[in-house]
């Protein structure tokens, strides 16, 4: 079920304000965030986010193609290291 278009995309207010602030200040350092559900909006392009995955922060540099996706999509929460045994 997709979100109603009436509401527009979900953008984390606080994070958005932070991005605008960083933009004004010309600050390019990664913005730490837990807001994985926040949609990437065009204003985010060119910024780096440190997106929490439950354990650590993944640095995500936002490009134009990423608009419309959620921040969490770029910070995997599971790690698969292979099955036991493997090679003998």
């Amino acid at each position: 079920m997709t979100r109603s278009t009436k509401k527009g995309p979900f953008v984390h207010e606080k994070l958005f304000r932070k991005v605008m602030k960083a933009k004004d200040a010309g600050d390019r350092s990664p913005i730490k965030t837990w807001a994985r559900a926040c949609t990437v909006v065009p204003e985010f392009i060119g910024h780096t986010f440190a997106v929490h995955n439950g354990k650590m922060f993944h640095n995500v540099f936002v490009t134009e193609d990423m608009v419309g996706h959620k921040l969490g999509e770029f910070s995997p929460t599971r790690m698969f290291r292979g099955h036991t045994g493997g090679k003998k």
């Binding site: 490009t63 193609d65 990423m66 996706h69 969490g72 999509e73 770029f74 995997p76 099955h83 045994g85």
Partner: protein
């Protein structure tokens, strides 16, 4: 056999069914086309007139994305997902289901034939 949209040669099924042999034309678009050109359900593909064929071709190239162009579009979307390394892109890279299906069992379409692991306990032994 009539030729529509380049290489596609549907057979002597009803027109609205044989149109579906074109990549990118399914039930919906096939019906839509037949309705707009007023081709009755009973008309077989081989009985289509030259005029109707060219009209179909005109519609397909003008208003719909089909065949090579559609395949390219799909590929491009997948490549885009891969390049931005989002979750869906990662699943495409690994050849695993993209839309959250279970992978403990099934998912054979994406994973391909089973690779049996020697020494792995079977379901029977675990009980």
């Amino acid at each position: 056999m009539p030729r529509v949209a380049g290489v596609d040669i549907p057979n002597d099924k009803p027109a609205w069914i044989s149109l579906r042999y074109i990549y990118g034309v399914g039930p919906k678009i096939a019906r839509e086309i037949c309705k707009r050109l007023e081709i009755a359900d009973s008309v077989r593909a081989k009985d289509l007139t030259e005029d109707q064929l060219s009209q179909i071709a005109g519609l397909l190239t003008g208003e719909y994305v089909i065949e090579g162009q559609l395949r390219r579009q799909v590929q491009q979307s997948i490549t885009r997902l891969r390049d931005i390394s989002c979750y869906r892109g990662l699943r495409h890279r690994r050849g695993l289901p993209v839309r959250g299906q279970r992978t403990k069992t099934n998912a054979r379409t994406r994973k391909g034939p089973r690779k049996t692991v020697a020494g792995k306990k079977s379901v029977k032994e675990m009980r």
